[in-house]
């Protein structure tokens, strides 16, 4: 027995007279007589918690006279329907759900009309609220009309989607995104990825890509759009900063962008921090020969040319240390 939330429910004890002596139970627990009107059970403004097994027993003999399983729920609200082609040109799928639960079982019926033709949307086993359709024709001028009807014991509702074949094309995000530092290049990161595996024919239906990246410490993304190829080298990364990188895909000509791929993290190559060893070597080299002292390799920021002159101002502290080391040597 199904009833709406907030309704008033009256249960009769089978064929018993109104003035018969009965006892009602819910899930095995006796119900207080205040809820009774004679032998009728009155439930006012039922709530979800009042769902359960209701039984009516004859007063003295304790014979079971009536039993019902009460389920309190709501009629369905307008369902949410979404259709998308992530495997163009093979076909498309539609998936749906209810915006609010009804607490009772619902059945969904989906119909797809293409012009005058009825098409069958094959229901997927998993997930349950999804079905897929194979395109029989490509480049159709006629729209597809998908109607989803949801029915339960307390009512029904429906929603409709009408769309062109090319409007619902949205690939899955690119897969296997990998970002690596480039040796000896402190401002570069090499990013590569693969076409989503659900996209069946990238040869005839090529994808284009959108890359976004930012250092973790900043909020502003940088964007690059790539019309072909599945790799890109970032050349303006901040040295030494960890980056977060994502890629999205879109059919070259139609449809919309995919969701962003899983984010990958990478930090550009940085030189070995040789300044730590330099300090120890300064004390050594005062007594040892000059050839044992190894100047640390310079970064692009600290140009070697800036340190040649003895009067050159140290641009960064590594340069400063080298200058200090040199001056110690030449004293």
């Amino acid at each position: 027995q199904f009833e709406r939330v907030g309704a008033d429910v009256t249960m009769k004890c089978g064929s018993m007279d109104w003035d018969a002596a009965v006892t009602w139970t819910v899930n095995g627990t006796d119900i207080d007589e205040s809820h009774l009107n004679g032998s009728y059970l009155i439930l006012k403004n039922v709530g979800l918690s009042q769902s359960g097994q209701y039984s009516c027993y004859e007063g003295s003999s304790w014979h079971l006279k009536y039993q019902t399983y009460l389920r309190v729920g709501t009629p369905p609200k307008e369902p949410v329907l979404m259709c998308r082609s992530n495997n163009y040109p093979k076909g498309f799928y539609c998936s749906w759900h209810l915006p609010t639960p009804t607490y009772i079982p619902n059945t969904f019926n989906i119909s797809v009309i293409h012009g005058t033709k009825d098409m069958v949307c094959e229901k997927d086993a998993v997930p349950k609220n999804r079905c897929h359709i194979r395109y029989l024709q490509l480049f159709s001028t006629v729209k597809y009309k998908v109607t989803l009807t949801v029915t339960n014991a307390l009512g029904k509702n429906f929603t409709t989607l009408t769309f062109d074949e090319f409007a619902i094309v949205k690939p899955d995000p690119p897969e296997s995104v990998v970002a690596k530092p480039v040796p000896n290049n402190p401002r570069r990161l090499e990013v590569s990825w693969q076409n989503p595996s659900s996209w069946p024919d990238p040869e005839s239906f090529p994808l284009k890509f959108f890359l976004r990246y930012r250092p973790l410490i900043l909020d502003q993304w940088q964007h690059v759009e790539l019309s072909d190829g599945t790799s890109h080298t970032i050349t303006d990364a901040y040295a030494g900063k960890e980056y977060i990188i994502q890629v999205a895909a879109k059919d070259n000509d139609i449809g919309t962008w995919s969701d962003w791929s899983v984010a990958v993290h990478a930090t550009p190559w940085t030189e070995e921090p040789k300044h730590l060893t330099t300090e120890a070597q300064i004390t050594e080299t005062t007594s040892a020969s000059t050839s044992s002292f190894m100047a640390p390799p310079t970064t692009k920021i600290c140009d070697k040319g800036a340190m040649v002159g003895s009067g050159a101002v140290a641009v960064c502290w590594t340069a400063g240390l080298v200058v200090a080391a040199y001056s110690v040597l030449f004293i």
């Binding site: 029989l136 480049f139 001028t141 009309k145």
Partner: protein, 218 residues
């Protein structure tokens, strides 16, 4: 002036059979011509969006409503349809693929020119004329690709556009429906052509052209 462009292009169209004899298209390379044709379809698609918006507004409701989804009337079948069976489309030979595009745009151009002669506002006439000129360029471009690959050009309506074969629409509303479907088919063809030329790009190796150049050298 748009009429000047028309006459120039008409003259160019008449000279189309002579194109295979020219060196320039072969030197460009079939691959590059395919790329250029692809780019042209994307440009036309962009142009059509503005043109269609203006034209549908000119036709008025319900034609300019985004949800407008009328049934396809039998009379509208005259306009060549881009719709094709998936496996059939995949299996098209390069020649068939190019020919289908060539025929379709030649005919669509004819119909568009008829439209051009009938529309009311000067702005619309100007836009249509501009679009027709670009569409003419596309037809020539496809013809160029076919010639450079050694395919014969389909016998098309190269002659001045005759009025559409079927009798004119019996009433104003049906005439507007015809215009609506014409624009829709044009839009669909441009979107299909992008895919057709993508496929051709991959399948036509640059080596095809170098072989031909070598043959000419002997």
């Amino acid at each position: 002036d748009s009429w000047g462009i028309f006459t120039f292009l008409c003259a160019a169209l008449c000279n189309l059979p002579a194109l295979p004899a020219l060196n320039c298209s072969e030197e460009l390379g079939a691959g590059q011509s395919i790329q250029q044709t692809y780019d042209l379809t994307r440009y036309l698609e962009h142009q059509l969006r503005t043109l269609a918006g203006t034209y549908l507004n000119y036709l008025g409701p319900p034609f300019n409503e985004p949800d407008f989804n009328p049934p396809r009337l039998a009379r509208a079948e005259r306009v060549p349809s881009a719709t094709v069976d998936l496996d059939l489309w995949r299996g098209l030979t390069d020649n068939a693929r190019l020919a289908a595009n060539y025929r379709a745009y030649s005919r669509l151009l004819c119909y568009l020119r008829v439209l051009d002669g009938q529309v009311g506002t000067a702005e619309l006439r100007h836009r249509l004329a501009h679009f027709c000129a670009s569409l003419q360029g596309l037809v020539l471009s496809i013809g160029g690709v076919m010639s450079s690959l050694g395919y014969p050009l389909p016998a098309g309506p190269a002659a001045p556009p005759a009025p559409p074969g079927a009798p004119a629409a019996p009433n104003d509303f049906l005439k507007k429906m015809d215009d609506f479907w014409l624009l829709k088919e044009l839009q669909t063809w441009l979107w299909r052509s992008a895919k057709d030329f993508n496929r051709l790009k991959k399948k036509v190796p640059p080596a095809v052209v170098t072989l031909r150049l070598e043959a000419r050298g002997f």
